[in-house]
Symmetry: C2
Subunit: 216 residues, 2 copies
């Protein structure tokens, strides 16, 4: 132990076998376990989706790390083009009319994390962040392929558009107006992603061509 | 676009604005959105917890990357000692009697990921994997501090102990016997972790001492 039990005991609310015997810990967990959870409990503050994908982890990473993959697996991100040499791209989000989507990839090949930092209407503050992590299924499920974790966090800008003057029209829906649909909406895109990767992997079709792969 | 619409259309089940206009996508998402989800739907295959922690991301990372922190924030992992020079440690899991816990940290400082690869009874196959990712709250919530993501995956060994002969007794509970309690059980530990980090950070108490930090 790094610190004494007395020091830990000064921190209010800590539950450990030293102050809560194992049978009591089980009783607390049984009491707190619920049969069901409301959509708001599960998906209001953070929205995480998980999938098993029968495709090697490095390939899933390469696919996600190429920003053009968004044009394939998302419902509505289209016509992405580089804005500058810093990795910022701009395209359209076709889920609503006339809306520019700015996006940048931040990826770590060793950790197999790929994040899309995005925003509607402007590219100065990329506050819509899509966090992905690819995990070798061999490690966590004992089988080939990948586990994909996908999390979005409920940034306050979802509730209030910080730059309403940049919207293409006054009646354009704001992306946060459908935060409550992020789980089912992202599920559609996760199913797309899984279908594309598994189809190409099973059929020996190039998943990310070499030119794109070099960019990843 | 990297591939043609025709090529994408060959993959069954893909939903994109080209084949499903935006209003129809919203109808599908509204139809699929549920008021509530059963515990099994949410936590059977994967169990993810999220927390906001008012403590800087690098500090949260340093704390998690030191395996001895398990002795503080977990309910029952205790008396960890190094087994070898490869980073394998062994201690006791006090949630059940006489049970050795083997554990190794795999961390990536750039990506702020910290994983504990663990097992009961033996250290040859570390199949119980605790996946953590620290995310700067500035990036995803527009505020100071950290978001912590914590995922466990339902490895088949939770359902069947692969090495029952190593159990200290025939009636010792198996860790997978309480997979259904992982969410409330890990919530206790996440609350501990948040309480420890926020208490020390707010009070200027060293969170990981320098000797331990060097090991992280």
């Amino acid at each position: 132990m790094r610190v004494s039990e007395a020091e830990l005991a000064e921190i209010p609310g800590i539950v450990r076998v030293e102050n809560t015997p194992a049978p009591e810990v089980f009783r607390i967990a049984e009491r707190e376990a619920k049969e069901s959870y409301s959509s708001k409990e599960i998906y209001h503050d953070f929205c995480t989706l998980h999938a098993y994908i029968d495709c090697p982890p490095q390939v899933v990473f390469d696919y996600l790390a190429d920003i053009r993959s968004l044009e394939e697996f998302t419902v509505s991100a289209r016509e992405l083009e580089p804005v500058d040499d810093d990795g910022l791209w701009v395209g359209w989000d076709r889920i609503v009319p006339d809306t520019r989507l700015y996006a940048k990839v931040v990826a770590n090949r060793d950790a197999l994390t790929v994040d899309y930092h995005c925003a509607w209407d402007q590219g100065d503050e990329l506050w819509m962040v899509y966090l992905y992590r690819v995990v070798p299924a061999r490690t966590v499920l004992g089988t080939q392929g990948s586990v994909l974790l996908w999390t979005n966090c409920h940034h306050p800008h979802y509730d209030v558009n910080p730059r309403p003057e940049l919207a293409p029209s006054k009646d354009r829906l704001w992306v946060g107006d459908f935060w409550h649909l992020f789980y089912p909406g992202h599920k559609i895109e996760l199913d797309n992603l899984k279908a594309i990767l598994e189809y190409r992997h099973a059929n020996g079709i190039s998943i990310v061509d070499s030119q794109r792969q070099a960019r990843g």
